[in-house]
């Protein structure tokens, strides 16, 4: 047996578990005359001795008494039922907690949905117009219900509901034409507007109906919507300039 073979078996030789028949004697004989292998065997012996230091501490009687007591207590406890094993264990408790939280969440969501469906209060804003021009009634309850234009001179009409946040620019652009010519009759642009909104528009139109004819004879109104949805240019000009409208038979 050469040095390499001996080195491969040295750890087993030192630990005493060489299992090949006769190998132990062969390694022992090699170590007698090979100093290098002997030094390596000494290192393995030191390591093996070091490993033997890994001994447990002295466990006292109280340690084992408590151990046996706990084991016997758990053994003697009645076996929990299937339901208790499913729902009484930590996982079961967690599952119950999760189920309760989920139920609360579902209830809250249903309540919120029901409440929102019952009170679709439209935010109605009527622009403040004086005597002439169209009156715009804006609603923001649904994307489809844009603004409703009621034309004709009106009295002061104030906002009928708390001011909602300004609608998007795109919706305003679609709802308000850049140029509004005067018309004689009040008109609700969107037929699907909520009834409350239509009522307000009709009331406004009716209230101003008496004054409409006189005012329109006197003034001409032009509205220009700028790119900023919050800025609108309203141009009021007397109709008498240029052609006398009262004498115009086409009017």
């Amino acid at each position: 047996m050469n040095c390499e073979e001996v080195k491969a078996n040295l750890s087993s030789y030192v630990a005493g578990d060489i299992e090949v028949a006769g190998a132990r004697e062969t390694v022992g004989a090699h170590l007698l005359h090979c100093e290098a292998c002997r030094a390596l065997a000494a290192e393995w012996e030191a390591s093996h001795r070091l490993l033997q230091l890994h001994q447990p501490p002295e466990f006292d009687a109280a340690f084992f008494d408590a151990l046996r007591r706990d084991v016997l207590r758990q053994i003697s406890e009645p076996r929990p039922s299937l339901f208790a094993r499913l729902f009484g264990q930590p996982f079961g408790q967690q599952a119950l907690t999760y189920a309760a939280a989920f139920s609360l969440l579902v209830c809250a969501a249903l309540f919120a949905a029901h409440f929102l469906r019952r009170s679709p209060t439209p935010a109605v804003e009527v622009a403040n117009k004086e005597n002439v021009g169209p009156v715009e009634v804006q609603t923001n309850d649904t994307p489809e219900s844009g603004s409703h234009t009621v034309e004709g001179p009106t009295k002061n009409v104030e906002s009928l509901a708390p001011q909602p946040p300004p609608p998007s620019a795109a919706r305003r652009r679609r709802a308000r034409p850049a140029f509004n010519a005067s018309r004689r009759e009040a008109r609700v642009e969107h037929p699907t507007a909520p009834p409350e909104t239509r009522d307000v528009a009709e009331q406004v139109a009716r209230a101003s109906n008496a004054e409409t004819a006189v005012a329109e004879r006197e003034m001409f109104r032009i509205e220009l919507q700028t790119s900023d949805p919050n800025v609108r240019i309203i141009w009021l000009t007397p109709r008498t300039t240029g052609v006398d409208s009262s004498n115009n038979p086409n009017r």
Binding site: S47, Q52, H54, P56, V71
Partner: protein, 216 residues
């Protein structure tokens, strides 16, 4: 009672304080038989016979007292639960070793997931450091070196992969043969030989390097 079971010796390797400890070698198989029938008192006697060995093995595998206690408790609970599946012709030592190794493996995996009770926050490490300090103060150099070496071995063992550590502990510290270790671990003897050899080499390298660094 089967003759194979009658030959099982008690696993107790240490006598309790006071020295009055009866020899359970002859009575253990009878206790096992009664415990299999559900006799809790008999099972307590089985525990008395085997508790030292179970706790010591668990400590060697886990490295601290609290985990060893938890492991021993779980080992006996599992043993009682599965005692009916134990066949009397089996080696009770090996059967209990196998449960111990499995329980310790589960605890180590849980510990690895939770990151709990590592060597860094192990109270016994603190005790060891205190012992080293005390040894240093009293100028007993041998005690200090011994404490230091124990700490090194513990760290080296815990640096090993789980299977290598188990094989090494069972083979070199518990004194089981390679075949017995293979049965306990559920692997082949050749695999165990390889694992033990690798683990020994790693322990040697680790300890030599650590001792060299300490000297420097």
């Amino acid at each position: 009672m089967p003759s194979e079971v009658a030959g099982i010796a008690c696993m107790t390797d240490k006598l309790p304080p006071g020295g009055a400890f009866e020899d359970h070698g002859a009575t253990l198989p009878a206790h096992i038989e009664r415990a299999r029938a559900g006799d809790a008192a008999a099972f307590e006697q089985v525990m008395v016979c085997t508790q030292h060995k179970v706790a010591a093995t668990a400590w060697r595998l886990l490295g601290n007292r609290e985990d060893a206690r938890d492991a021993a408790q779980e080992v006996f609970l599992r043993a009682f639960k599965y005692l009916k599946s134990y066949r009397p012709e089996q080696d009770f030592h090996g059967w209990l070793y196998r449960i111990t190794v499995n329980v310790c493996r589960d605890i180590l995996r849980r510990r690895g997931q939770a990151g709990a009770r590592t060597l860094a926050n192990d109270p016994e490490r603190g005790e060891l450091s205190a012992l080293e300090a005390l040894a240093g103060e009293s100028d007993t150099e041998e005690a200090a070196v011994l404490a230091q070496q124990r700490a090194i071995v513990r760290r080296a063992l815990h640096a090993l992969p789980e299977k290598e550590r188990t094989a090494l502990v069972l083979r070199d510290l518990e004194g089981l043969s390679t075949d017995e270790v293979a049965r306990v671990m559920g692997s082949r003897p050749a695999t165990v030989r390889s694992q033990v050899s690798t683990a020994r080499g790693k322990i040697k390298v680790f300890c030599e390097r650590f001792l060299r660094e300490k000297r420097v």
